[in-house]
């Protein structure tokens, strides 16, 4: 028998009203503006854009405010909003070689064209709490130095010239899109990269760390890490040519990995690739390591059964919105489901004579 139950509307309304009040907090404290979140919590904004898979700093800042700083909830809001937008088209692939770099470092070459540019990094800070920030947020302007104009070539280009690293040959196959077709296995590299760039940072970091600790070790060097803005060009059907519609900030990580060579390939370095919206370098490095681990099959390596090599495991569990949706739904009412379980356990206990044992004990 199915019994429809209704109720709780007032409780829900009141819970939402209290949520709004708690979100605001003590009204004697100034309210946060969207611009303050966008400018002063920009790395949180970047994470929400990357995993929400929508580049719009103001929207991400609004989502963070609405979610009371719960970034996964904010990502959920962005993903939901994204589905309401009509898709005008696709960009031509961005040229990360033409990036206006805020930061560009290589762990493999000390002296390289364009140099080691540290940018606004936490590296080399002492990780000591700065109590000055609690008192006064004013900072002196950062020093500037005349920039030498010129290309900042990718590090892999130098290795390519000697044939020491696998090439990433130019290709124009239209990529699959997991926002339009459900993610299915086997997933080619284009699909894996799309899934990884919007994957949960913590999950991706954990998997990448597991490869460093020996589960499908591939000994990665950060060949290059760069952060900066690139123009986005899009073909406009009304005009019949492509124009720049804006700019996005990206973090790109290219790893250089050991490779013994195979029957068809001479010994050479192989590559892992990470590219993520915003200044998100922990995620980009993690993505590159996991991308490389997932390439075992095409590179003719052994499957050692490591989690990071299992595309199905990685890709089906990397999306924090899918994960949290399924995880959190179990707290919603399951009264009828549970009632049937309860009946079943009682019946089984009767059959097993558990009732009699209890009576005897009494």
């Amino acid at each position: 028998m199915y019994v429809a139950v209704k109720g709780g509307e007032r409780a829900i309304e009141n819970a939402h009203a209290w949520l709004a009040e708690e979100r605001r907090g003590d009204t004697d404290i100034a309210e946060l503006s969207i611009a303050q979140i966008r400018e002063q919590l920009s790395l949180a904004v970047n994470r929400v854009m990357a995993e929400g898979s929508l580049f719009d700093p103001d929207l991400a800042a609004l989502a963070i405010k609405q979610a009371r700083g719960d970034l996964i909830e904010a990502i959920f809001l962005i993903r939901a909003y994204r589905t309401t937008l009509p898709r005008f088209g696709t960009s031509t692939p961005v040229d990360t070689g033409a990036m206006a770099c805020d930061r560009r470092i290589s762990a493999t070459f000390k002296d390289l064209p364009g140099g080691q540019v540290l940018g606004p990094t936490f590296d080399y800070t002492h990780r000591l709490l700065d109590f000055k920030l609690a008192a006064d947020g004013e900072v002196p302007e950062a020093p500037a130095r005349d920039a030498v104009p010129g290309d900042v070539p990718h590090v892999t280009d130098f290795l390519n010239r000697e044939g020491l690293i696998e090439e990433a040959p130019h290709d124009d196959t239209p990529p699959p899109d997991l926002t339009r077709e459900p993610l299915e296995m086997p997933a080619d590299r284009a699909l894996r990269l799309q899934a990884l760039t919007r994957a949960d940072e913590g999950f991706t970091l954990g998997l990448a760390y597991s490869t460093q600790r020996g589960y499908a070790r591939n000994h990665a060097f950060v060949g290059e890490l760069r952060i900066g803005s690139v123009p986005v060009e899009m073909e406009i059907p009304e005009l019949g040519f492509a124009i720049e519609v804006g700019e996005v900030v990206l973090t790109e990580c290219e790893t250089v990995n050991q490779f013994k060579g195979s029957k068809t390939e001479p010994p050479q370095f192989t590559r892992g690739y990470g590219l993520v919206f915003g200044q998100t370098e922990r995620k980009a490095i993690s993505m590159a390591l996991v991308d490389r681990a997932l390439r075992w099959e095409e590179l003719g390596e052994d499957n050692v059964g490591a989690p990071a090599q299992d595309a199905e495991f990685v890709l089906y569990h990397a999306d924090n919105i899918q994960a949290t949706g399924f995880l959190e739904h179990i707290k919603l009412p399951h009264y009828v489901d549970f009632q049937s379980e309860l009946e079943l356990v009682r019946k089984l206990r009767r059959e097993a004579g558990a009732d009699q044992v209890q009576e005897a004990a009494e």
């Binding site: 937008l85 990433a168 406009i236």
Partner: protein, 137 residues
């Protein structure tokens, strides 16, 4: 059009209104916000993949004199899209001679300055390696 798409919020409107009064127009497509899927290439140069979307606002209009203007600009900025389409249409009229120095040139300068300010801060964080000289001679 790229210049108009990348200008900060409200900037094109301020420059246009300072240069001239806006002409009348009719909408071909009223401003609407949507998205563009941004693509990138594996390894920077290889096969393309879908990186994620960005918000874009577009519109199209016709001036009373018949010129058609289009705009596709980043973000959810309907007023900016309207002004960008107006300027796109006006650049096909005699007003182009006025707008080039009064609107496009200052926009270009401002964007170039913003870029070079950032590049200069990045350059200040460039590492100068030096070799420690050992005390033996």
């Amino acid at each position: 059009m790229s210049l108009l798409a990348k200008a900060p919020e409200g900037r094109v409107a301020a420059l246009l209104d300072a240069a001239m009064t806006r002409p009348g127009f009719t909408w071909l497509r009223a401003p609407e916000t949507g998205s563009t899927m941004v693509r990138a290439r594996a390894g920077g140069t290889g096969a393309p993949f879908n990186l994620g979307e960005m918000t874009v606002t577009r519109c199209a209009l016709t001036l009373e004199t018949g010129e058609v203007g289009h705009a596709y600009i980043q973000g959810r900025r309907k007023d900016d899209a309207e002004v960008a389409a107006l300027v796109d249409a006006l650049m096909q009229t005699n007003a182009a001679d006025l707008l080039r120095p009064k609107l496009l040139a200052p926009l270009q300068d401002e964007l170039a300055t913003a870029k070079s300010d950032r590049a200069a801060k990045a350059a200040a964080t460039k590492v100068d390696f030096f070799t420690m000289v050992r005390g033996e001679d």
